[in-house]
């Protein structure tokens, strides 16, 4: 494969450019995936049956912690890509590792949040509202979980193979994925939690 040195490493080969554009288009599909979940959520938001409404179960503290964790992780992976473009392999790996730790912490708080919901009588099977709430949050959480493993694999590959056009490309694409999860969370934070508690 020919490598073009005038561009950042992750754009270096033709296949790399294809991968990046292809991943953007995948993110377009993800926009629709979450949009459908949101459409369903908004439709069912007030259809609580005999179960609790959003305002009764949402708690600001864990939600705020989750938001800060995910925003910061989006920042640190941005720093990771910046370090990568400067060719600083160790700094980059550190930032990626911090990102994953923040993601792991996010997941921990989310698991706490889920058990809290089940405790206060808002389990999956209670009402249309709780069903779609937990499915929407769960879909986002599943994306984060997949991201944790994926990110780990990428750190391992960068460690072993160094910053090559191939590993740089993978790292950059992973950063796109992670930022996107943050964007989705912003919408969950605004239109599920804050709107529900308003």
């Amino acid at each position: 494969m020919k490598t073009d040195n005038s561009l950042p490493l992750e754009y270096g080969t033709e296949q790399n450019k294809l991968n990046i554009l292809g991943f953007w288009i995948f993110l377009g599909a993800e926009v629709m995936l979450f949009a459908t979940l949101f459409a369903t959520y908004f439709t069912l938001e007030h259809r609580t049956g005999s179960g609790p409404a959003g305002a009764e179960i949402f708690e600001i503290t864990p939600v705020l912690i989750e938001t800060i964790l995910l925003l910061t992780s989006s920042f640190t992976i941005g720093l990771g890509v910046h370090a990568m473009r400067l060719g600083r392999k160790n700094a980059m790996m550190t930032f990626f590792a911090v990102t994953l730790l923040l993601g792991l912490a996010f997941l921990g708080v989310e698991i706490y949040e889920f058990t809290h919901y089940v405790h206060v009588g808002a389990g999956l099977q209670v009402s249309a509202f709780t069903g779609i709430l937990l499915t929407t949050l769960g879909t986002h959480g599943a994306h984060v979980t997949v991201g944790l493993f994926w990110g780990l694999f990428i750190i391992m590959q960068v460690k072993k193979r160094g910053l090559t056009p191939e590993t740089a490309n993978k790292s950059f694409i992973f950063s796109l994925y992670w930022h996107f999860l943050d964007v989705v969370w912003i919408f969950i934070f605004s239109f599920i939690y804050l709107k529900g508690m308003m």
């Binding site: 561009l7 459409a39 908004f42 910061t72 920042f75 941005g78 996107f180």
Partner: protein, 93 residues
């Protein structure tokens, strides 16, 4: 690219923290539904744009047009789907 200090990232991060704080006003202050939704829509979409342009470098490569077309198309269809669904099943049912 050659600068060592990640100015863009730091500014983006600070900006998104500010926007998050702004969004929180709907929780801590007593605002009407219409005002609250306006604030949330504004802060959420601006923050998404910050991520997209600042962090994700959407406009940096030769495929800029394709990437933006893809994102705009996705957002347009997403909004049509969400508001269409609400129109059919909630507002006009």
């Amino acid at each position: 690219m050659s600068e060592l200090f990640p100015r863009k990232q730091v500014m983006g991060f600070v900006f998104s923290l500010v926007l998050t704080a702004a969004a929180l006003t709907v929780y801590f202050l007593d605002v009407s539904f219409a005002v609250g939704m306006t604030i949330l829509l504004a802060t959420a979409f601006i923050q998404a744009a910050v991520q997209l342009v600042g962090f994700m470098h959407a406009g940096e490569s030769e495929d800029k047009v394709a990437i933006y077309a893809n994102i705009y198309y996705g957002i347009a269809i997403a909004l049509v789907t969400i508001f269409g669904t609400l129109l059919i099943l909630v507002w006009d049912m």
